[in-house]
């Protein structure tokens, strides 16, 4: 059984973000990097499935980006992935979800993966498009925002998280792709023997130019902090009107009243 998990290295969200020189994305200085949170659930689920399948199974972890993403790849290997593909691209951040998905699909198309795991969305761009697009390009069945996953002989039963806390149950047949949501599992903390073993696992480096044949479908026009809002509003008039006005504002502008 062949499994693939796609991860992205993102900046830690506590970092201070400043626009880069071109003003179209964030500046990379003084940022702390980590594996995208949703991808951690994907890696954990992929490892759990791989462990259940035993010796016949193999899990590959893939990531696109400059050399720093190897750290995130190593973490996935330490969690239990067997090998890795590093699509080397110093300008990965400048690519749109269509291009990213195309790169992954180009890599995966001849490999015969039975199940592909991705995170629901990335914490920096948050488009939530890459997973679904990869599935579309590969012709795989797909379901998103899963919070439950079961596999039995080519059949996947997934629980999806929908609006309002409702869960939906979806059944798919492999080959399939699932995007993972918070609540799916608790990612394991890599044990030291596994961290040591990970150092010896194979990481194949592929230059992005080998795989990317698509142009961007969307360009990022501007990356800037939100405009500073004005100060407060002063309500004047008699109490009855003030109360109505205030309730209206609370209803419209805040989540205080439903």
């Amino acid at each position: 059984m062949k499994l693939l998990v796609c991860i992205k290295q993102v900046p830690d969200l506590e970092s201070r973000f400043k626009p880069n020189a071109e003003g179209v994305w964030y500046n990379e200085t003084d940022l702390a990097w980590r594996m995208n949170e949703y991808d951690e659930y994907a890696v954990e689920q992929a490892v759990q499935l791989r462990e259940k399948q035993g010796d016949g199974a193999e899990l590959t972890v893939l990531s696109i980006g400059p050399d720093r993403v190897v750290e995130a790849i190593k973490k996935a290997l330490a969690m239990g992935a067997d090998k890795a593909a590093h699509i080397q691209d110093p300008a990965a951040a400048a690519k749109d979800p269509w291009q990213i998905a195309s790169i992954i699909a180009a890599y995966a198309k001849d490999k015969g993966f039975d199940v592909i795991f991705t995170g629901m969305q990335s914490q920096d761009r948050g488009s939530a498009q890459v997973g679904v697009t990869v599935a579309e390009q590969l012709g795989y069945t797909c379901t998103t925002t899963i919070v439950g996953f079961e596999y039995d002989n080519g059949n996947i039963t997934a629980k999806r998280e929908l609006e309002g806390g409702i869960k939906g149950v979806v059944k798919l047949k492999t080959p399939a792709l699932v995007t993972c949501q918070l609540g799916l599992n608790v990612p394991r903390y890599p044990t030291l023997p596994n961290i040591m073993k990970a150092k010896k696992k194979e990481i194949t480096t592929i230059p992005v130019s080998d795989l990317l044949k698509e142009d961007a479908m969307a360009t990022t026009a501007s990356f800037h902090p939100p405009a500073k809002k004005g100060g407060g509003i002063v309500l004047e008039g008699d109490v009855g009107t003030l109360v109505d006005q205030l309730i209206a504002i609370l209803k419209d502008k805040t989540a205080v009243l439903r």
């Binding site: 830690d12 506590e14 702390a32 903390y189 044990t191 030291l192 040591m196």
Partner: protein
Amino acid sequence: MEATREIYWNIGHGVVIPMYILAFAAFGVLAWGFWKRMPVWRQGKALDRFDRYDERVKRLIAEVFSQEKIFRIKDGGIFHSLFFWGFLILFAGTMLVMVQADFLTPLMHVNLLSGEFYKAFSLVLDLAGLVSLGMLSGLVVRRFVIRPKGLEIVRDDYIVLLLLFVILATGFFLEGARMAATELRQNPQLALFSPIGLLAAKLMASMSMDTLLITHKALWWFHFILVLAFFCAIPFTKLRHILTTSTNAFLAPLEPKGSIATINLEDESVEQFGAAAITDLTWKDLFDTDACTSCKRCQDRCPAYATDKPLSPMKVIKQIGELAEGNPSGNLIETVSQDALWSCTTCRACQDVCPANIEHVNKILEMRRNLTLMEGAFPGDEVRTAVSNIEVNGNPFGLAYAARGEWADCLDVTTMESGEEVDILYFVGCYASFDKRNQQVAKHFITICKAAGIKIGILGKEEKCCGEPLRKLGNEYLYQMMAQENIELIKGYGVKRIVTTCPHCFNTLSRDYKDLGLDIPVEHYSTFLSRLIADERLRLKPESFNFTYHDSCYLGRYMDIIDQPRSILKAAGGHITEMDKSGYDSFCCSAGGGRILAEEKLGSKISEARVAMAQETGAALLVSNCPFCLTMFEDGIKTGGAEGHLQVRDLAEIVAERIVV
């Protein structure tokens, strides 16, 4: 008539050979008993505790004969020490009789046991016997009548105490029988030099000579057999502590307090980390379990035990011993339990007070290493998050590492990156860098240094967590990663001297980092300021205040820094009211052992217990000099209802307010 006595009177010199044969047999049993025990210890891993032999022997002799660790705790300690010296004198006296009878008399024709010396000898031995008997009675009353809480009574206690009591009693009665038959009639003046024997003799004075002779002989043999039984019992009962506990004074570590084995992570052949079975511990760890006499002093001092957590350091040692003896393949961690293991704050109170030199803390750390490194276990999700934060941003708060130096922005502090020369590197630590309350301490420290004309440099955003909480939780891997990065930076900048305001950073940089290649002087600011004041580089204008002082575990017990903070506070105008548990007896704030990252879910709050102790002194101000203690006490004051009654402040704040420029 000459003051002496006929050795072997009424027993006959024919007894000598059988006596020696039986004695050797008893020693044979003694040796065999320990020989049989050795395979139990040998199950543990190798460890060299035989280096620097002469230092070890000196320490052994000093500790055993002075009994200083025993009478440090008065309850039971005074009784035991006096009993020990009494019994030692009796033993020495008996040896002297043997030397006289079997060596001095036949070979050198010299009688040492005569005249004034004999009178002194008799008196000293009688008094020693009386003291021993009295102390033994006191110990019996303590154990069986007073019954201190937590003191277990087991089968061995009955056997040992009864045996010792009967040995001493028969000793006096057989002396009495002899004196009734000899001295009382022939040399009553001499009898006064054996006052207790005299009392016993008077009780028997009415017996006929025949009865006396038979009684004496019977008592002599009975006493002799009991003494042999005593020797035979040593390896098989609590009496083993005579040898195991004293040996532990030899085997105790010579490394600085708090030294932890640094795992060689480059060694790819190592597949198992930490201790999951007793075979993962060292032979010394297993030997420790035989040196333990269940005196419960460690348990009495454990802050976790005192607040109803499932940890008892004594119980951990006993559990290890039980597994080593009866179930060596048993799961050590399940036996001790994770809850107990995670409850430890590594305050070292247990090890500090243990009269048997048992090393409790590192056993717990080895088990934690197994939990962390082999199973990825954490005491709670909040700890996992904090550890993850340290990995990503170099601090447990998860705040952007780039902001680490911002507390110093308006203070004109040099960042090492600028390349400027500095006098010392101030290693700020995570709490002083990011926590609002502790940032004040850092700022005050800068103020103080400026007033003293010291040029300070900080690493700013390049500084990472020193790794201490990680190491104490068992995560040796992440600790070494953090440490290597810090060490590379520090060396790269050619730093000559480091000062820190956190005792945990202090311990880690000055001691633990040595194993990883950093060997420059590291000081805690309390000794640093103390010197500045002594050198008159810093002058304080005393402003009177009343306070009580909390000795941080990592400053007091770990580093013996007890006087300097007190003298600084005195120079600042402070009048101290000490808490009961102060100095080496200080009671932990609860944040050590990596627990600063954890929520306290079991038992009651240690910080509240300590705040209550501070309030008991009547002082309205509690002073500490550790960011963890400061944080825990601010918390404990709020949750413990002391707000408005007790304030906690750091030493730096008090000093900074009183600088004379």
